[in-house]
């Protein structure tokens, strides 16, 4: 399911431990290389400059060299994402480019724990009913987009064609709709 499967999680954890004890750059390279295209993409998003992003990818690697010897990292991928993103934001702050960037942009992101919570069969039906109820509370645009994306499994492009909304709006309706749905279900579930 996960998009990046460079090395399985266990192997990654082993490599992290090995690097922490040996400090071998070869091992660190094995850890970092699979994520490099993603890091580069993230840097492109924030820095909006190819050569700056290339340098950033290397600088982030340099940070890993020291930080990974000190910190015990459990989830390398999300840790690396935070590191890369923070690095870029710091760079922007240094260049006074940060005005146009909203830090809250990605606040819709869910954590893995919630998403992969196992749902027992007996509560599945309750959950589904709850979801239907909560769907009603979403605004029209969010409702349409969430339905199309999650229930009918349409891609963004198809949704824009069907609804006539532009791509960015579709994305944000889905993200916000998903967040609202989650809040609503948690509230109802607890209440």
């Amino acid at each position: 399911m996960a998009f990046i499967k460079p090395i399985d999680k266990q192997k990654e954890a082993d490599l992290l431990l090995q690097y922490k004890s040996t400090g071998s750059l070869k091992i660190l390279g094995m850890l970092y290389e699979p994520y490099m295209p993603l890091v580069y993409g993230v840097c492109l998003k924030y820095l909006k400059d190819e050569s700056e992003s290339e340098d950033a990818v290397m600088h982030i690697f340099e940070q890993l060299v020291t930080k990974l010897r000190v910190h015990s990292v459990v989830n390398f991928k999300s840790w690396l994402y935070s590191l890369a993103r923070n690095y870029c934001l710091m760079e922007l702050r240094n260049h006074n480019k940060a005005d146009t960037i909203s830090i809250d942009e990605n606040s819709f992101m869910e954590n893995d724990a919630f998403l992969h919570q196992p749902i027992g069969e007996d509560i599945l039906e309750t959950k589904l009913r709850l979801m239907e109820e909560c769907m009603e509370h979403l605004n029209a645009e969010q409702q349409i987009c969430v339905r199309l994306f999650y229930l009918e499994q349409k891609c963004y492009k198809d949704i824009t064609t069907i609804t006539g909304y532009d791509l960015n709006s579709v994305k944000s309706y889905i993200q916000n709709g998903k967040r609202n749905l989650k809040i609503c279900m948690e509230k109802s579930g607890n209440g």
Binding site: F3, E33, P34, Y35, M109
Partner: protein
């Protein structure tokens, strides 16, 4: 590696080459994976440049291999340091040896010089220093058997005279080396007489036609 496949998938997605199902799948993944989502947005902005990514991988590989090289260079430096240290030590040893040899040579040179002085310059006092016969000028003739033997001869044949005196005699040397025309330049008369007697009865002379010799009576 998978990342090649992944980046190709992103590239295909951005170019619209994926099927709607595949696109949905990727979008769904991105929705739960902020890392992928940000990267996708970044590539949406600039497009996927696989050449740049390859260069980046190369840079990473260079960086990874840079340190061992540095280490080996350091190792090499320490090896060189060792070699340099040994070379220095050998050089110092060689210097010490040379110095020792030189010192010995100069000792023997000094000894030689001393010997030369003994042979050519004024003879040292003979025996306990009672009798000294020596030439006063460089051009003076010398006894044929040398000054040492001459002094030995004096010691053996002298008639002791009481008192101290210094006698200086000049004389010429004849064809066979015998002194003649002996003239006293300095000294008391008994001493001059004795000195003359010693000269006349003494060995033959060589090196020059005339001589100026000093006799010290103590």
């Amino acid at each position: 590696m998978d990342n090649t496949y992944n980046i190709i998938r992103i590239q295909q997605y951005l170019k619209g080459e994926l099927s709607p199902e595949e696109m949905h799948e990727l979008e769904h993944e991105a929705l739960y994976d902020p890392f992928l989502n940000d990267a996708l947005e970044g590539y949406q902005y600039k497009g996927v440049n696989t050449g740049k990514l390859t260069l980046l991988q190369q840079r990473l590989q260079d960086r990874i291999t840079a340190l061992p090289e540095e280490r080996s260079r350091l190792l090499f430096t320490s090896q060189r340091l060792g070699i340099a240290a040994v070379a220095c030590l050998l050089f110092i040893l060689a210097c010490v040896l040379l110095w020792m040899i030189n010192a010995r040579n100069s000792d023997s040179a000094q000894q030689k010089q001393l010997a030369i002085e003994l042979n050519t310059a004024d003879p040292i006092p003979y025996g306990n220093g009672l009798f000294i016969a020596r030439k006063l000028t460089e051009a003076s003739a010398s006894p044929k058997q040398g000054w040492d033997n001459f002094n030995t001869y004096i010691k053996k044949t002298i008639n002791p005279i009481e008192g101290k005196n210094v006698v200086v005699l000049t004389f010429d040397i004849d064809k066979v080396g015998k002194p003649f025309n002996i003239v006293a330049k300095k000294g008391g008369s008994p001493f001059i007489r004795e000195a003359k007697r010693l000269l006349e009865a003494g060995p033959t002379w060589e090196e020059n036609k005339s001589a100026e010799v000093e006799f010290v009576f103590e």
